[in-house]
Structures are given as structure tokens and as C-alpha cells.
């Protein structure tokens, strides 16, 4: 088991390195994307540009630049190309917003995803299943930014029930924090609830056909016990791993659409702005943050899988 965990962690580090290289290369493919020109501004003289180039190391080979940038990211001294501000400070400024968004929404979508998934599976083919399935399908069919814009227009602008976007820190005003976040939470959750309940419904129905479920019933266990202990326990595995991934992605800026439509200034909006400015260090930091969260959670999920499911443990 220890060997399995160690191997999993080592490969996780490999993935992290691969991700950082990939991101660096994506932004290096831009011709005319010389960051020195952007840092210098419009009126910079050629000698000033040359100075900037030397100072930031843009004249060095690309792999040296990569290693230098990564070093700076790791010791927290990295500075953005476009504004010259320390990126760690920036992240520290936007992270609480995104964490608030992710925690609330993550709880809502996991809870309702499981509830709707179980309900639709055990009532498969009946009216409750039909209604919830249609709702789930409408949920997965709505673009977040469209839904968000409509919620802001009808509930915010027309009815005045919710504030028109923005974020209030929890420490300053807990009620304001809640009212500013309730709409983003729900809007962000809608898609995931629809998706999770569909996946869970299909997994549960598949699991109901497994031999061990037949065995459990044959030895006289109650319907409820079979469902909870045998079916649900197995069917939840893919849901939990999906949740870990989605949650990690939301923290790492995956809620870019929700954040920009509700003007939340979280990691996602910061990412969008940095990409727009082709600011490689900022994008690298955000991507590394996301990747760390995702890789870590996916490694944890893999280990949990192996612990929960002897079939996987024995074969690997």
C-alpha cells in the first residue's frame, strides 16, 4: 500500500511539472508576444527595452527562462509582466472570494446531486424520475453566464431581491457576504447538480444489476440496507471523485464564468484578465495552483479507491 501511495505521489509531481511546461510553451508560441515591449510601454527607447530584456532574462534561452520563472514561483517572489506587482499578494487577495464561492456551491451541488440521483434511480421510469430528469437536463443545458445574467437582471435589477454582483468579505459583513454569494452559489451549482444526478442515476441502475447485489438480496437483506450499504456505497465512488476534481477546479479559477458574470474578482476573473494581458507568470501561478489542487485531490481519490475497492488494489 505504501508503495502504491509513493508511486502515485511521484507521478503527481511529474504531472505538475508537465503542466507548468505546457502552460509556459502555450504562451511562448505567440509571435510578436515579446513581454519586454509590453513592460516598456509605448514610449520606451530601444535601450530601455534592452535593459528590461536583460533584467527579466528574456534574452536567455527558453529553458533557462522557464527554470528561473519556476524558481521565483516556488519562493514566492514572482512578479507579473504587465503590472510589476507580486503575484502571491494578488492571489492572496482573490483567493478568499473563490474559496467562499467554492465551499458554498460545492456543498450545495454535492448534496442535491446525490439526493436527486438517488431519487431518480429508485423511481426510474416513474413520474418523479421524469420530472427530476427533465429539470436536470435543463440544468446541464444552461450556460452559466446566461443563467447568471438572467438572475442578475430579473432578481437583481427588476425585483431588487439580490445585490447586483460584487463580493463582501465574511469578516466585514456576514449577512452581506451571504446575500452577495447566494445567487452565484446556486447558479454555479445548477450545472453540477444536473450532471451529478444523471451520472449517479446511471451508476446506481448499473450497480443494481451486479451479482453482489443479487447475493445481498438473496440472503434476505432489506431493500433499504441493500440500497445504502451495497449499491450506494459503490455508486458514490465516481461521484466523490468527480466532486474532488470539480471542487479543485473551482478553487483554481474554473468558475471563471460565474465569477465574471457576478463580478466577484476571484481567482477565475484574475485568470481571465491575466490571459487577456498574456501575462505568463500570473497565468503560470494560477495554473499551478489549480493543478496542485486537482492533482492532490485526484491522488487522494486514487488511494481511496484502492482502499475501498479490493479489485483495484489487488490488480495494481
Amino acid at each position: 500500500m505504501t508503495r502504491f501511495i509513493v508511486r502515485r505521489l511521484l507521478s503527481a509531481i511529474g504531472v505538475l511539472i508537465a503542466i507548468s511546461v505546457l502552460t509556459f510553451l502555450i504562451f511562448q508560441t505567440i509571435p510578436n508576444g515579446d513581454p519586454a515591449l509590453r513592460l516598456g510601454g509605448r514610449l520606451a527607447t530601444p535601450s530601455e527595452i534592452a535593459n528590461i530584456r536583460r533584467e527579466y532574462g528574456f534574452n536567455k534561452p527558453i529553458y533557462v527562462q522557464y527554470v528561473d520563472t519556476m524558481k521565483k514561483i516556488l519562493d514566492g517572489t514572482v512578479v507579473s509582466y504587465s503590472q510589476g506587482i507580486n503575484i502571491d499578494d494578488q492571489i492572496r487577495r482573490v483567493l478568499p472570494t473563490t474559496l467562499s464561492l467554492a465551499l458554498g456551491a460545492g456543498f450545495i451541488w454535492l448534496f442535491f446531486g446525490i439526493v436527486f440521483g438517488v431519487l431518480t434511480a429508485i423511481t426510474a421510469g416513474r413520474w418523479l424520475d421524469r420530472v427530476l430528469t427533465v429539470l436536470a437536463l435543463i440544468g446541464v443545458s444552461c450556460p452559466v453566464f446566461f443563467l447568471g445574467a438572467l438572475v442578475l437582471y430579473y432578481l437583481g435589477f427588476k425585483a431588487g431581491i439580490i445585490p447586483l454582483g460584487g463580493y463582501v468579505p465574511l469578516t466585514e459583513d456576514p449577512w452581506g457576504w451571504f446575500t452577495h454569494l447566494i445567487a452565484p452559489w446556486l447558479v454555479l451549482s445548477v450545472l453540477f447538480i444536473g450532471f451529478y444526478s444523471r451520472v449517479l442515476r446511471s451508476t446506481i441502475i448499473d450497480t443494481l444489476g451486479e451479482d453482489y447485489v443479487r447475493t445481498a438480496r438473496a440472503k434476505g437483506l432489506s431493500n433499504r440496507r441493500v440500497l445504502v450499504r451495497h449499491v450506494l456505497r459503490n455508486s458514490l465512488i465516481p461521484i466523490i471523485s468527480l466532486w474532488g476534481l470539480d471542487f479543485a477546479q473551482v478553487i483554481g479559477g474554473g468558475a471563471i464564468l460565474t465569477e465574471s458574470v457576478f463580478n466577484l474578482h476571484g481567482v477565475g476573473q484574475f485568470a481571465a484578465e491575466s490571459i487577456g494581458r498574456l501575462d505568463i507568470p500570473s497565468v503560470l501561478v494560477i495554473v499551478m495552483l489549480t493543478a496542485c489542487a486537482v492533482v492532490l485531490l485526484s491522488a487522494i481519490v486514487d488511494v481511496l479507491y484502492a482502499l475501498l475497492d479490493p479489485r483495484i488494489r489487488l490488480s495494481s
Partner: protein, 349 residues
């Protein structure tokens, strides 16, 4: 297929016994699983009508030039910003003096209103749909073909090949799809890209197609790999191996049919998500580039006009939701029809 669930497999639901199976007794014996599925699908009116809805949208978008010429009497980008039109006997400006465009007139001209430049929204909606649907369909093909192929290979061979492929999936998977799409889209739309003999210009539709296609590959490949890992240990694979079948035959003749239900669940989901991702990228300025319309670019242009002209958001948004919903509901019906376990349940109802 060694285990054919429709004929002799462990047909699921244990609260009913196998006596539920003759619910299909009105069918002539000896039909294959796909014929049975087709019969079941034909009886699912909801799925069929949503499928038909999607088809109507596709046809409407294909007929965009005809609509522009013969109904709206305009073109994709002609602007009528200074014109006046008659609506119910009253003369109204297409775009008012303060810059608010006319809403839906429900007449042949400006049926769904105009935008700020005085362009006909309905015409742009159908032209934009062509782009959105083309991107959705082609990138879905890329995703499903690559995802299934790589997933089966990784799960079947395991070992180092699986290690490399799985880590590659992890690399893409670790990126939030929208973030990766925006990064690629922003860069490619500035510079274009040249790969060997193929040169893509900035603003080309192929860029969003490729991006959307690649971003979702792990979402198909990983679950397929997981399933194949389990399937390859099953008796029917052992049996096939004993018979001396080649790896290729086992992978695509024995294992592929057993993951078909997963693939079928994924095809509509991926197509729907591809259309949604295109819209998201366009909303963030990294997808289809204006003035080329797509539903995503239209929604994002519309959101900027809120609250003065909500119809600019509602029209493309509702169209997008209807198209995606059509795919999803129809896909759900196909899945239910093909899934033999669902059959037992439908039979019982």
C-alpha cells in the same frame, strides 16, 4: 460479445424477477439488441419530439441564407441603423436616438428585433447557429474518437503505456476546461498556428473546434479506461484470449461493445458540452471572433446591452438552451432504449 445482456445476461432489477421480461412479448422473437432499441426509442415520444426540435433548429440554421433573402430581406451584416419600419401601423426607428435597438416585432422584418448596429437578430441567430452547431458536432467527433481509442488502449494494456496515457489525461484534466480553452484560444486567436502543411489563421473556426475537441478527451477516456480495467479481468475476455484472438479483436470486438452504453451516454453529453464550451469561450473573447456570429458571441454582446435590450441576451440564450436541451433529452432517450436494464423497468411500468 460473450455476455449478451439482452438475451441471457443478468438482466438487472431484482425486485422483479425475470418474469418481467415477457413485457416485450408483443415483439417477434429473434430481434437483435439494436432493433429492439430502435423499437423502444420509437415509443419514447418525449425523446423523439426533443430530437425533432433539435433537427428543426439544425434545418433552420442551414436555411439561414434563404431566411435572410426571402423573409427578412437583409443580409448577415447589413445594418439598418437609420431606418424606420412599420410595426402594427406605427412607424418606429430600428435603433432609437439614444441607441436602444428595437425589440422583437414578430413580423418578417426584425422578427426577433435588431441589435445596436441595426442588424436583424433572427438572421444573425440562424447564421450564428451554423457556427455553434458545426463546432459542437466536429469537436464532439474529435473528443469521442480520441477518448474511446485512448481509454480502451490505456485500460487494456495497462503497464507503462497506461502510465503515460493516464498522466497525459491528468495534465489536461487538471486544467479547468474553460481556463485551458481560454488560454489556448487567446493565444491562437492572436497568432494563428502552423503545424506542418496546415496553417490556421487567427479567427478561423478550426481553432475553437480543435480546442473544444481536445479539452474534453480525458472526460471520455478516463471513465472508459476505468471500465476497461474491470472488463479485461472478466471471463469472456479470458475466453477470447484462450481462443487466440488478437489484442485488436479483443479490444474492439469484445470490450468495445461492453462500454457502448458509456459511450452512448457520453456522445450527447459531449456534444452538448462542446456547444456550451464554445459559447463560454466566445463569451470570454477566446472562441468565435466577431463579426463572425455564434450563439456564444451573440449572448456576450447581448449581456453588454443589459438592461436596455434584454432580447439580445434572451434570443440567442434561449435558442442555445433549446438546442442543447434537444440533444440532451434525445440522448437520454437513446440511452434508455439501448440499456437493457432500463428495458426491464420500462416493461414493468
Amino acid at each position: 460479445m460473450a455476455i449478451d445482456p439482452v438475451i441471457g445476461g443478468p438482466a438487472g432489477d431484482l425486485s422483479t424477477d425475470l418474469a418481467a421480461a415477457p413485457a416485450e412479448g408483443d415483439l417477434p422473437p429473434g430481434l437483435g439488441p439494436y432493433q429492439l432499441a430502435w423499437r423502444r426509442l420509437r415509443r419514447n415520444r418525449v425523446a423523439l419530439s426533443f430530437g425533432a426540435l433539435f433537427l428543426v433548429i439544425v434545418i433552420a440554421c442551414l436555411l439561414a441564407p434563404v431566411y435572410a433573402d426571402d423573409v427578412a430581406h437583409t443580409t448577415l451584416s447589413a445594418n439598418h441603423i437609420t431606418e424606420k419600419i412599420k410595426v402594427d401601423g406605427k412607424s418606429r426607428e430600428v435603433v432609437s436616438l439614444v441607441g436602444i435597438p428595437i425589440g422583437p416585432t414578430w413580423h418578417s422584418r426584425f422578427f426577433l428585433g435588431a441589435d445596436r448596429d441595426g442588424r436583424d437578430v433572427a438572421v444573425r441567430l440562424f447564421y450564428g447557429g451554423r457556427n455553434s452547431l458545426e463546432i459542437g458536432a466536429l469537436s464532439m467527433l474529435i473528443t469521442v474518437v480520441l477518448g474511446v481509442l485512448l481509454g480502451i488502449i490505456a485500460g487494456y494494456f495497462r503497464g507503462p503505456l497506461d502510465g503515460v496515457l493516464s498522466r497525459a489525461f491528468d495534465v489536461i484534466w487538471a486544467y479547468p476546461p474553460v481556463l485551458l480553452g481560454v488560454a489556448l484560444g487567446a493565444v491562437l486567436n492572436i497568432s494563428g498556428i502552423t503545424v506542418g502543411p496546415i496553417a490556421l489563421h487567427a479567427g478561423s473556426l478550426v481553432i475553437p473546434i480543435m480546442i473544444v475537441g481536445i479539452v474534453y478527451v480525458p472526460y471520455v477516456a478516463k471513465p472508459i479506461r476505468g471500465q476497461v480495467l474491470g472488463l479485461r479481468e472478466r471471463e469472456f475476455v479470458d475466453a477470447a484470449r484462450q481462443q487466440g484472438l488478437s489484442h485488436l479483436r479483443i479490444m474492439f470486438g469484445e470490450i468495445l461493445p461492453n462500454v457502448a452504453s458509456t459511450i452512448i451516454v457520453f456522445v450527447p453529453l459531449i456534444m452538448a458540452n462542446a456547444i456550451l464550451l464554445e459559447a463560454a469561450l466566445s463569451y470570454l473573447g477566446a472562441g468565435v471572433q466577431p463579426p463572425n456570429p455564434s450563439w456564444g458571441t451573440m449572448i456576450s454582446e447581448g449581456i453588454r446591452e443589459i438592461p436596455a435590450a434584454i432580447h439580445l441576451t434572451l434570443v440567442p440564450g434561449i435558442m442555445l438552451v433549446l438546442a442543447v436541451l434537444g440533444i440532451n433529452v434525445f440522448g437520454d432517450g437513446v440511452r434508455d432504449a439501448l440499456d437493457p436494464r432500463a428495458r426491464v423497468r420500462i416493461g414493468r411500468r
